[in-house]
């Protein structure tokens, strides 16, 4: 069965691929899998009807850990009926489509500008349908057929849901196939969202049911008949899915809109098959769940409401197709009541009527399609008198119409009789109320059916109808599907007893007690009398139809209410989304930061609430008086940096804080940190000034200070929280730091006495590798932005470019002889010191970082002395090469051990005994540090040259976008 379903999707791919080339012939690909299915059904039918269903399971996601998805199919009698309808009508629709899309109407201007379309304009332009993309259309159509087949065969909630949603999706594409039409797009969207949303409710309901029943198999769930609150909720959800799919009141509104689709789609999806999915579901579940509290009220009320509303609306339509669409809502309402009420006889009648409905509704739609296709109109006012012109069409439509009206000797009559009888004979207390409504609904059905046929085929009422005269006669192949289906209503009606017996075997699949009989003549009984009432009532309605039509169109307003409610909620969602998003995603960075700080505060508060308390016994005011004093001084500078309204002052105070930090590091026993901090702070000040030199010294006045107190409060509270947290975490250690092992291993195994440096280049060298890469990235990021500045300068030489005046480019007098001379003296010393620090770092404070930063400081001095010119040839070396080289050294040093079977970054110690040098210890990690040194130099050079003197900075871009 999976293969069979699969062939539809293969056909869909073929259709999509060849649709443009083959034109209407592409429908052969649509027909092929239908034929295959029909053949398969024929082969399986005898066994299935004898009560031995065919099953197949395909495990999609295996169930080792409890979660499993399986595609499970089961062909029982009811499934056979539905599959037969899907494939049989599908085949006819495919044949029909070939004529519908191919015959005389080649578009005048193929695939050219698409004129704005007039929605359901009374007279459409010739060839407006052939403009649709036949590849997409046929692919969606055949994919739909496959999905529908999968749906009716599904025996697993996952399988059911998969195909359920697929039918919604394919229906979306089919309704919106004429996508230049705004109304079609809207209709498609409404249909998708209503049925898709219902599908999600269905999913939830099914999962709940399956968990209550302990199985995902539908037959298993039905057999388990779970009960309880969860089940009641689940049932509501399942019914929500079913009623939306079957366009039942109050979700009916999408169906008339769906008539935007080409007629074959309307006939196939929106009358014969897809809308029946809900009926199928209700029919399957009714025997097991009709007795749950929510079931009957929902099913009966919605069904009857749809019956009456649809009938009323159908009477008022002036468009032949819309009249049928409303009729579909009405008849589906009746079907819902019948299959859902949970009375075996009614179930039987419902299934028979389902067959009858498919047989009469599809040809009626197809007939409208023929007329529309030949005459380019569906307006009753422009039609009439077609019986003489196209008698075959009229006769076939007539048979179908009679069946729809429930008149003998059609199948529709037999089934309606059975339905009335089933309800009348049942023992439910409210049967007469239901019957009454059904009678009224049936009378309306009678009336609109008669009206429909008479207005099209009956004698003309309007003399100005000239369209009819111009229409060419439809080809035989075009009318054939209509005729076949129309006359089937008659034939099946005449053969209603044998047909009824087959239907009985099918109904057993749902409910073993539903095996009833069908006949044209069951004697004079309640049902027959009621039919008489229906006919009489119908005639009365026809008589007074003009009166009815003149009255205020209550039905229209009620009918629109669903659509309006939907559109309102759609708009509500959209505008609500905008309001919410406008509020949450304000686009303002200060707000974002404040909110983030607020969340941090909340987290800290939560920690305090759940008992985060410092152990104050381990807390002293300060570790030393000096530390206390430095802390106080730093305190002052922090406040200063935060409040001073001037850029340079703030930068300098930040620098002061940095130096204070260095002092604290020093006192804490962290000379490496102090050294690095000092260097970094110094370089930071230079970079700050380089970047900000042109900005006004004063900060712009804050735009709104309303929030200032709030921001201060939040941030201040975060500060308090952090202090609390620090005191808590710092006084309650549960484990030991690995520093002890590091101290033991540092010299023995790693060959260095400076533990911090050994950690950096060896124990935790990977951190360092990442961190130098971060540094390299920062440098190339700076260079990249500098290149962007240069690009924009070259393009727009307006302000603030003119105001821009780098320090070394103004008057010669800005150079300083003194600075030049001192720089010359100091620079070599700086370089020597850097080399010293780098190589000494393994044993004493220093290392590649510190060394590289010292060089950076030296470069900064030179740069400040005279801009890039003072860097001489150094400024011409692309700093990226230096960076790349340094990175290469470091990473290669880390990788080489892998080649000799050691670990990544594993360092080796070589004790060399050289003739002159004596014993020399070489640690391979030193090369790693050398790479760091080189890289840091490159980074400093890049930042200085790129951020500093951008006019003379070396161009690092390969080509400038121009």
């Amino acid at each position: 069965m999976l293969t069979l379903v699969g062939t539809f999707f293969v056909a869909a791919v073929l259709c999509a691929a060849t649709g443009a080339r083959l034109g209407a012939r592409v429908f052969a690909f649509v027909a092929a899998p239908m034929v295959a299915t029909a053949t398969w059904l024929a082969l399986e039918s005898s066994g299935v009807l004898d009560g031995s269903p065919v099953s197949q399971t395909f495990d999609w996601v295996g169930g080792t850990g409890g979660f499993a998805l399986a595609l499970k199919f089961r062909l029982d009698g009811f499934g056979l009926l539905m599959a037969a309808l899907v494939s049989g009508i599908g085949l006819l629709v495919a044949v029909y489509s070939f004529s519908y899309f191919a015959e005389p109407h080649e578009p005048h201007e193929p695939h050219e500008p698409h004129e704005p379309d007039g929605h359901l304009s009374p007279v459409r332009e010739v060839g407006s349908y052939p403009k649709i993309n036949l590849g997409v259309f046929s692919a969606a159509l055949v994919a739909f057929a496959g999905s529908m087949l999968g749906l009716v065969l599904a025996n697993d909630i996952v399988t059911l849901f998969v195909f359920w949603e697929l039918t919604s999706i394919t229906s979306f594409f089919l309704i919106g196939i004429n996508d230049h039409d705004t109304a079609a797009r809207q209709a498609a969207l409404r249909a998708l969202l209503v049925t898709g949303g219902g599908g999600l409710a269905l999913l939830a309901g099914l999962v709940m049911l399956s968990q209550q029943a302990g199985t995902t198999e539908i037959s298993g769930i039905l057999a388990a008949e779970p009960r309880g609150t969860v089940v009641n909720v689940a049932i509501v959800l399942v019914l929500l899915g079913a009623l939306t799919k079957s366009a039942q009141f109050p979700f009916h509104f999408w169906l008339p809109g769906a008539m935007k689709a080409p007629t074959p789609v309307s006939a196939y999806l929106h009358s014969a098959t897809m809308v029946k999915a809900g009926i199928v579901l209700i029919a399957r579940f009714a025997p097991a769940f009709a007795s749950t509290p929510p079931w009957r009220p929902i099913v009966v009320v919605c069904g009857l409401a749809s019956l009456i509303w649809g009938g009323g609306r159908a009477l008022r339509q002036t468009d032949a197709k819309l009249a049928l669409a409303h009729g579909t809502v009405s008849q589906l309402g009746l079907l819902v009541v019948l299959v859902g009420v949970g009375i075996p006889a009614a179930t039987y009648a419902g299934i028979a009527m389902l067959l009858a409905h498919a047989l009469f509704k599809a040809p009626l739609f197809l007939a409208v399609g023929v007329i529309d296709h030949q005459l380019h109109t569906r307006e009753f006012s422009r039609l009439g008198g077609l019986a003489k012109k196209w008698p075959l069409l009229a006769a076939a439509s007539g048979c179908a119409a009679l069946s729809m009206a429930g008149l003998p000797p059609m199948l529709g009559f037999a089934t309606k009789e059975k339905a009335l009888a089933a309800l009348a004979d049942s023992d439910v207390s409210w049967r007469w109320l239901v019957l009454g409504v059904i009678v009224v609904g049936s009378a309306m059905t009678f009336a609109y059916t008669a009206r429909w046929w008479m207005l099209i085929f009956g004698p003309r009422k309007h003399e100005h109808v000239h369209d009819v005269a111009t229409g060419a006669k439809p080809s035989a192949a075009f009318v054939l599907p209509v005729a076949l289906l129309g006359f089937a209503s008659l034939a099946f009606g005449l053969l209603s007893t044998p047909v009824g017996n087959v239907v009985a075997k099918m109904a057993v699949g749902l409910d073993p007690k539903a095996a009833k009989k069908l006949s044209l003549w069951a004697g004079v009984n309640t049902a027959l009398i009621l039919t008489g009432v229906v006919i009489f009532g119908g005639l009365a309605v026809m008589k007074f139809i003009a009166v009815v039509q003149r009255r205020r169109d209550v039905g229209h307003r009620i009918g629109l209410s669903g659509e309006k409610a939907f559109d309102r909620s759609y708009h509500g969602v959209i505008s609500g989304a905008r309001t919410l998003t406008g509020a949450v995603q304000s686009g303002s960075l200060p707000t974002y930061v404040t909110v983030t700080a607020g969340v941090v505060l909340a987290a800290l508060t939560a920690a305090l609430v759940s008992g985060m308390r410092p152990d104050m016994s381990g807390v002293v005011l300060a570790n030393s008086p000096a530390q206390f004093v430095v802390a106080v001084l730093a305190f002052g500078m922090v406040i200063g940096a935060a409040v001073v309204p001037r850029r340079f002052a703030a930068v300098m105070l930040l620098g002061g804080v940095g130096y204070a930090m260095a002092a604290l590091f020093m006192m804490y026993g962290a000379p490496d940190l102090a050294l690095t901090q000092l260097l970094v702070e110094t370089l930071s000040i230079v970079v700050f000034l380089l970047a900000l030199r042109d900005l006004p010294n004063s900060f712009a006045a804050p735009r709104r200070s309303r929030s200032k107190m709030l921001r201060l409060a939040v941030c201040g509270a975060v500060g308090v929280g952090v202090t609390m947290f620090a005191l808590t975490a710092g006084t309650q250690r549960v484990g030991q730091s690995p520093t002890i092992q590091y101290e033991q291993l540092s010299e023995k195994a790693a060959g260095g006495r400076n533990v911090v440096n050994v950690i950096l280049v060896d124990f935790r060298g990977t951190d360092t590798m990442g961190e130098i890469t971060v540094l390299a990235l920062a440098a190339i990021g700076v260079a990249n932005l500098a290149a962007a500045v240069r690009r924009s300068r070259r393009h727009q030489m307006a302000r603030p470019v003119d105001a821009f005046n780098p320090p070394n480019e103004f008057r010669r007098s800005s150079s300083s002889v003194i600075l030049d001379q001192v720089t010359h003296a100091v620079f070599p010393v700086i370089l020597l010191l850097s080399l010293f620090l780098t190589f000494r770092g393994h044993n004493a404070p220093g290392g590649g970082f510190a060394g590289g930063l010292v060089v950076g400081g030296g470069l900064a001095i030179r740069y400040l002395a005279g801009g890039n010119a003072a860097l001489g040839r150094l400024a011409k070396v692309p700093s990226t090469h230096i960076i790349g080289f340094g990175l290469l050294i470091s990473v290669a040093t880390a990788l080489i051990p892998l080649a000799v079977g050691n670990s990544f970054l594993e360092s080796s110690i070589y004790n060399l005994d050289l003739p002159v040098l004596g014993e020399l210890k070489v640690v391979s990690a030193a090369f790693f540090d050398l790479g760091v040194y080189v890289l840091v130099i490159g980074v400093c050079l890049a930042i200085l040259t790129q951020l500093g003197d951008h006019r003379s900075a070396p161009e690092l871009t390969t080509q400038d976008a121009s």
Binding site: R646, A649, P696, N697, S698, R811, S813, S816, I818, L819, V822, A825, V826, V829
Partner: protein, 118 residues
């Protein structure tokens, strides 16, 4: 012992000189006067302290480095005050009321506008 005394004396003296520099920084009336304090006091003060420290060092390398640091301080301190002073003058920072003569003429620059420099 003598070394200890000498060292301590030098350090105390040096520290007091840096204190004088800092005092001058606070008490003197204009930027240029403060520049005198910062340059002279700090330089000699630091030189004395580092010399005092050098006496205490056993490692020759450390002594050498301290000496180097002193030399570097003599080289760089005047440079800093020179550049800051020139910048201050060019940007039109007010001289104190005690100033009687200003012979330094910055190059005429028609576009010169003193920005807010505070």
């Amino acid at each position: 012992m003598i070394a200890d005394v000498a060292s301590t004396g030098l350090i105390v003296l040096g520290t007091l000189l840096t204190l004088v520099a800092a005092l001058g920084l606070v008490r003197l009336p204009d930027f240029f006067a403060r520049g005198h304090a910062a340059t002279k006091g700090a330089t000699l003060g630091l030189a004395l302290t580092l010399s005092g420290a050098a006496i205490q060092m056993s490692d020759r390398g450390d002594v050498a480095k301290l000496a180097l640091a002193v030399i570097v301080q003599f080289l760089t301190a005047p440079v800093a005050s020179h550049l800051l002073g020139r910048a201050a003058h060019r940007t039109g920072i007010a001289l104190s009321d005690h100033t009687v003569l200003d012979e330094l003429v910055d190059e005429p620059d028609p576009t010169f506008v003193a920005k807010d420099l505070k």
